[in-house]
Structure formats: C-alpha cells, structure tokens
Amino acid sequence: MMDELLGIITRSIIISGTATLLASTWSIPLAYRLSHKTRAGYIRSILEALVGVPTVLIGLLLYMILCSQCPLGLLGILYTPIAIVIGEAILVTPLITAVSLYEISRVRARYGELAQSLGASDRQVMEVVLKYSIPGIIGALLMGFSRAIGELGVALIVGGNIKGYTRVMTTAIALEVSRGEYEEAILLGLLLLLIVAVIAVGLRMIRGGRD
C-alpha cells in the first residue's frame, strides 16, 4: 500500500515535471518572440483565454491522434506515461507562455536597448533578457507544474489510470471519489498540495526572498 502510494507520487512528479520542462522548450522562446512591442496583444489575450482549456478536451484530441486506428497510432504510446507527458505539455503551454510573457516583456522593455547599446547581438539580447526574467520564468514554470500535476482529464483519457503504470495522484483521487471514499481522496489531494508546496519553497530558495 505504502509502496504503491510512493510509486504514484514519484510517477506524478516525474511525468508532470517532464511535461513542464518539455513545454518550456517552446513556451519560453514563444514568449520572447511575443515580447516585442509590436501588436502581439491579441495573441497574448488568446493565450490567456486558453489557460483553462478543459483537460478532457486535450485528452480527447490527443486520443484521436494516438489511438491505434489514428494518424499516430503506430507509435503505440497511448496508455503510456509518454502520452500523459505530451498532453500535459500541451495543456500548460498557454499558462507558461502567458505568465512568463509578463516578466519577459517588462525585462525586455527595460534592458533590451541597454544590451543592444553595449554591443549585444540579437541572440545575446535574448540571453540577457531571459537571464533577468528567470525569477518570473521560474514562477511560470511552477504554475505550469502545479497545473500539470493537478490535472485529471489528460491523465485519465490517454493514460488510462493503469495501476502501477499510468496511475498518478489525480487519477488515484478520482478513483477514490468514484468509490465514495471522499476522505481518502481528500487526503491524497492534500498530499499533492503538500508536495507542490515543498517544491515551490525549494525553488523560492533559489529565486531569493523577493521579486
């Protein structure tokens, strides 16, 4: 029992952590591109609107691509942790992009021209802007991780809640709920919050007290 719980916890952290990092590989560059002063406002709004996209929808769309008769069925990754990672990475993309955009725009407006005036190349301007956006980016990634580890729809639909393989915290919670075991479900939920909070506090120590 204890073993199983530990498995579920580490699995959740690894899957959602991987999904967050994966999402960051395209979300951060995208946010940097959008941080130009030009009229990226509408794209920004659309990203904000997509922050809460129903997880079930992403799960279903991904299913429609990964199922055996489907375009990418041959990959055989449906009902594996990989499928959850992909779905969660898509899920958190708008959140990570929209939130890190706040910091990146601010930093770029403030320090972009300075870097340029000191002789930085476009690439070096990006580097320095991202460097000074790190506290905000960490915040965005933390939110993304929290969202990923707390989501249910993707994990359930493309993961399948398979015991010992794709069962994560939220699918375990859902199972307890369907059994009517609300107390156990709540305990699991609080445990999940505790885990994310511990990670958050850990990251904060890297970030420093303020910002």
Partner: protein, 276 residues
C-alpha cells in the same frame, strides 16, 4: 423542494446507467404526469452514489451493485428496494479471441481460458478496479475459478469508468467484463472497433438494477421519489424499459423485471457472494 413550486428530487445513479439515456427517458415520461416534479439525476460512481445517499444528499438511488447496496441497507441508509430492470454482463475481447473464450463451456471455463492465455502471453484482461458493481462481479468470477490474477503482468487494473475501460480494452486488444448496455452504446457510437461479445447470457452474469429511497428524505420530495420508483416498476414503466433502445441498437438494452421473485432471490444470492 426547489424554486417556483417545483419539487426537486435528488437522485444519484451510476454513470454507466445514466449514460444510456434510460433515466432521462423515464423521468420525462414521469414528469408528463407530474409537471411540478423535476428529477435531478447526478451521475457518479456506484460507491459515490451510495455514499451521497448516506450523507443525505439524495432521495432516490438507482444502482447495480448488490453487495454494496446491502451494506447501505444494513446501515439503514436506504430502503424500499425495488428491482426495476436487469440484463447480462458480457465478456468482451478482441475479435480473433486468442483465449478462445467463445468456445467456453461455462463461465468458469471462460475465465480460466483467459487466465491461461494471459499466462501464455497471448491475452490481456482489464479490470476496472473501482469497486463498482461490475468490478465486484468480476472479482467474484475469479474467485469461482480459484485463480488469483492479481499482480499478473497481463492483468491490468485501470480504475476508469465502464466506457473508458471498453475503449482501453479495444485499443489494447484485451478482454474485460462489461455491462451490456454500455457495450452496445459504445459500439453504436463507433468507439469500439474490434471488441466482440464473446461470452454472455449466462445467468451467472446477470446484472440487476435496483432503485431505493433514502432515509431522511421526506415531504413532497420523498412522495415524488417513491412515485417515480412505483412508476418505473409499474407495468407501463416496465414496458418503456423493455422497448428502450431497441430501435437504436437493434436489441433491448434492459429487460423488465416485472416483479419476478426469482430476480429477488438471485439478488440475495449475489449479496452473499453465491452463484446466482
């Protein structure tokens, strides 16, 4: 009671039953006779449906999980037990039937065939693992075979609802136990591609749907809840159940209970874990 003089009847039910559309169909008919009544169905898991009744958050319960129901009857949570429909669980599996379940002589044989094929690496079986009526029945069947599939590599415990379990079995070429209504529904909506019914219509697989009232519920809500149970077990209600879905699926999803005492006996056996 609710707004504007409408009597709200809070009803919890299992998702698989609600998803067939039967309950909305029946309640629409009932509300034609009682326009001031609205039955609010809340589709949830079996355990959850009964738990909410225990919390006093429902007046009417419609489920198909006898042993679980018995617990709540004994605790004095639910009463006025009426069986309103039944059908059969079915063993479904890949069309090429690697375990040869379709040749099974009886249910024990069928389960053993799956077990052996599983051990031989030729088959998989998905268990819902959610303590639902279907899951409880599946475990009973394994017990009868004297085999323990737990922790076998081919025995996949998925912990999802009936519908998704069927989809997973279809995708993974696995066997599973399903209620017939959900299977037909999923077949009709093209969610299932190569999953076939391989074993069915065995009394051992009977699936009994029961309705209950909940202790603590009173007044008009209770009156109408009771009225609804009486309606669906009335001869008119039973006719409606018998014909439901025939047009769409080519065969009935449910059989009417028609107050058969044999069904009550079967139910009692199931509760005790005995062969029906």
């Amino acid at each position: 009671t609710g707004n504007w003089g409408v009597v709200r009847v809070r009803a919890t039910t299992t998702t698989s039953l609600y998803a067939t559309g039967l309950l909305d169909y029946l309640s629409n008919k009932y509300m034609k006779q009682h326009p001031d009544t609205r039955i609010d169905f809340m589709p949830v898991g079996s355990g959850e449906a009964l738990r909410r009744a225990g919390d006093g958050e429902a007046c009417l319960v419609l489920v198909h999980a006898p042993s679980l129901e018995k617990e709540y009857i004994d605790r004095g949570v639910i009463y006025y037990h009426r069986i309103f429909a039944y059908n059969y669980f079915v063993i479904v599996g890949p069309g090429n039937d690697p375990a040869h379940v379709s040749n099974a002589t009886n249910i024990v044989d069928a389960m053993k065939k799956i077990y052996n094929a599983g051990e031989a690496g030729k088959a998989k079986f998905i268990s819902r693992g959610d303590n639902s009526g279907t899951n409880v029945r599946e475990l009973m069947l394994w017990k009868k075979t004297g085999l323990d599939p737990n922790d076998r590599k081919w025995y996949i415990v998925s912990g999802t609802g009936m519908g998704q379990t069927l989809v997973m079995a279809d995708q993974m070429n696995a066997y599973t136990l399903s209620d017939k209504a959900t299977y037909l529904k999923y077949l009709a909506s093209n969610r299932i591609h190569n999953l076939k019914i391989l074993y069915s219509n065995d009394t051992a697989l009977i699936n009994i749907y029961s309705a209950y009232l909940v202790k603590g519920c009173n007044g008009k809500e209770l009156e109408r809840a009771k009225g609804f149970i009486d309606f669906i077990t009335s001869s008119r209600g039973q006719e409606l159940i018998a014909s439901y879905g025939v047009e769409l699926y080519g065969e009935p999803l449910f059989y009417p209970a028609n107050n058969k005492t044999s069904l009550a006996d079967t139910w009692s056996k199931l509760v005790k874990g005995l062969d029906p």
